[in-house]
Amino acid sequence: MLDHTADLGMIVRGKDIEDLFISGAKALTQTMVRSENQRPTRETRISVDGHDLTDLFIRWLGEILYLFEGEGLIFCDTRELKISSSTSLQAIVLCVPFDPDKHEIVYEIKAVTYHQASVNRAQGGWEAKVIFDL
């Protein structure tokens, strides 16, 4: 986690771009809700386009946030995830419906911000930095 005075940030690493995107979605989910070891019962398609890799990463996380806030679905994993030309993402994501009796909510994240967001190659893999508005 990154220390930001008013909000909350995170640095995520992945061995390749796809792994980075999946790790980012998992990290965001863990910041919102405690739901470890859940067996996914639902799947849904996500398709996003961005201007570049950083924009695509922010928009992808925005989709995961909406999945929870708008549809009541908690991201568990992906069955498929394909990124083309650093600007287009197609995924089938596996989810579990939010159940207030089973899942403890951690933070209400208003949005995934662009402030100081970055996606770069690092340490033989990929690294992303992102700040959430709480």
Partner: protein, 477 residues
């Protein structure tokens, strides 16, 4: 990045215009507060705002300035209509996050034995916490009405009295709202969150008026020492968050065109189709927030009546005022002796109109606009009144609160091994909160001293002190 800061006088610091800044930066602060400002990245953010097209006079910051995203929190910036831009990041995700203060005919002394019961009842009746949904389930058609009418929709539907609207900024309805520009996602997120407090720094607080500084204005506001009051801090919930997110994403396409130093500053020309659509959407969220706080107030009134078994005449819970502190507004100002229309962004800043201003309701026209400044859950809140100096120097803007000094993780570390709830009870403040970590993250030390922030605003003359309110009980998400 090293930012040069020049002290102008006791309360003002200048960031001189350098590089691609179009105007200088101007920070209202004090020698006690300015060191903390230098430690985070908020001054860089003031500098960045100063580079935006069409900005007028200064990129301003209030004494509660702290590191936000894009714009600093506590930031104020005004833009020419024809040359300038509107930026969703300059408003914030929680569009029309704001405060509402209600007065009562009761004194704290007579209610003190019942504060615990009241807090428990409010905690039961007012939906709080992360992703909280309320008993209201709105159809899309109803949401469209809320988006157009704001607090007036709430009053028409039985949540409050017509006189409440007069005591709400913009009378609780921002003009120009057009629900046809909103996404389905915004409607979906807003459908069950009207009448909910939310989490984080949002709260509902029972307070006592501890000190009156300006008796004449306090009399007009209906405040007296020892009086029981209720303070609500909440916003436009997921509805507003989604609207900001939708338009910010659309505007990031234009970042290259404007050569912005931070993508979060994404903006559109005010006169462009995109700029106009954002303003119409933002007004929808502003109206949702006013309806939200109006409904929260109505339920608070009902809970007081039920819990205390008294009549509305005995309670006399009245709205003193409702102000927003995350907004962009088209306003008339005088620049170099010329009247101009500007788009004033207030991100964590409160409008502070002086007496005689035509936008004030009759009831406050002779004294000025009430400016509501919440503290954190353990410290005082303040009521101030707007002044002519603010109109001249800050586009009629003042601060909005204490402002954080500790990040959430720093606060949790600092609170390790302590019971913040017990510490607050020892100070005579009863707290109920939904989230386990909320009390630690929101503990008083995590915030600047609101009294110091208010002192700067008062002594710089942006708004002057009317009353200080001390918390007796708090509910939080």
């Amino acid at each position: 990045m090293d930012i040069k800061l020049e002290k102008i006088d006791e309360f003002r610091w200048l960031i001189p215009r350098t590089g691609d800044m179009r105007v200088p930066g101007l920070i209202f602060s004090s020698s006690e507060l300015i060191d903390a400002v230098k430690e985070d990245q908020s001054l860089v953010q003031v500098r960045n705002v100063a580079t935006l097209p069409g900005i007028v006079n200064y990129a301003l910051a209030m004494p509660d300035i702290h590191w936000g995203y894009g714009f600093p929190i506590g930031g104020v910036a005004a833009f020419e209509i024809n040359e300038g831009v509107v930026s969703p990041g300059g408003v914030g995700y929680d569009i029309n996050c704001g405060c509402r203060l209600m007065t009562t005919a009761l004194t704290a002394d007579e209610i003190r034995p019942k504060i615990r019961d009241l807090i428990s009842a409010l905690f039961r009746d007012i939906p709080t916490g992360v992703g909280s949904s309320g008993p209201l389930k709105l159809s899309k058609k109803d949401e469209q009405k809320v988006a157009r009418k704001g607090a007036a929709w709430a009053v028409e539907n039985g949540y409050g009295e017509p006189e409440d609207l007069e005591r709400t900024e913009d009378y609780g309805t921002m003009p120009g709202a057009d629900p046809s520009v909103l996404s389905e996602r915004a409607f979906k997120r807003g459908s069950d969150q009207l009448g909910t407090l939310g989490s984080g720094n949002h709260f509902l607080e029972i307070q006592v008026v501890e000190k009156i500084y300006d008796k004449r204005v306090a009399d007009t506001f209906g405040l007296f020492e020892g009086q029981l009051t209720v303070f609500i801090h909440s916003g436009s919930r997921g509805f507003g968050h989604q609207i900001c997110d939708d338009f910010l994403k659309e505007m990031t396409r234009h970042v290259e065109k404007f050569g912005l130093p931070d993508r979060q500053l994404a903006c559109a020309a005010i006169t462009s189709d995109l700029g106009q659509r954002y303003l119409a959407a933002m007004a929808c969220a502003a109206n949702y927030a006013w309806a939200n706080r109006q409904i929260l107030m109505h339920w608070t009134r009902e809970t007081f009546l039920k819990t205390l078994s008294i009549s509305p005449r005995e309670l006399q819970m009245r709205l003193l005022y409702d102000v927003c502190h995350n907004i962009a507004k088209l306003e008339d100002h005088t620049i170099h002796g010329k009247k101009v229309k500007l788009c004033v962004h207030r991100k964590g800043a409160t409008r502070a109109l002086p007496k005689g201003h035509h936008l004030l309701p009759d009831v406050y026209r002779n004294v000025g606009q009430p400016v509501l400044i919440p503290g954190d859950m353990g410290t005082e809140s303040y009521v101030l009144v707007g002044s002519a100096i603010a109109l001249e120097q800050t586009f009629a803007s003042s601060c909005h609160g204490a402002g954080r000094v500790l990040s959430r993780s720093q606060a949790i570390k600092r609170a390790k091994g302590r019971s913040i709830g017990r510490e607050l009870e020892d100070k005579g403040i009863i707290v109920q909160s939904r989230g386990k970590k909320t009390l630690k993250e929101e503990m008083p030390e995590a915030y600047k001293d609101v009294s110091q922030v208010v002192e700067v605003v008062h002594r710089a003359g942006l708004a002057t002190k009317v009353a200080r309110l001390r918390p007796l009980g708090v509910i939080k998400g």
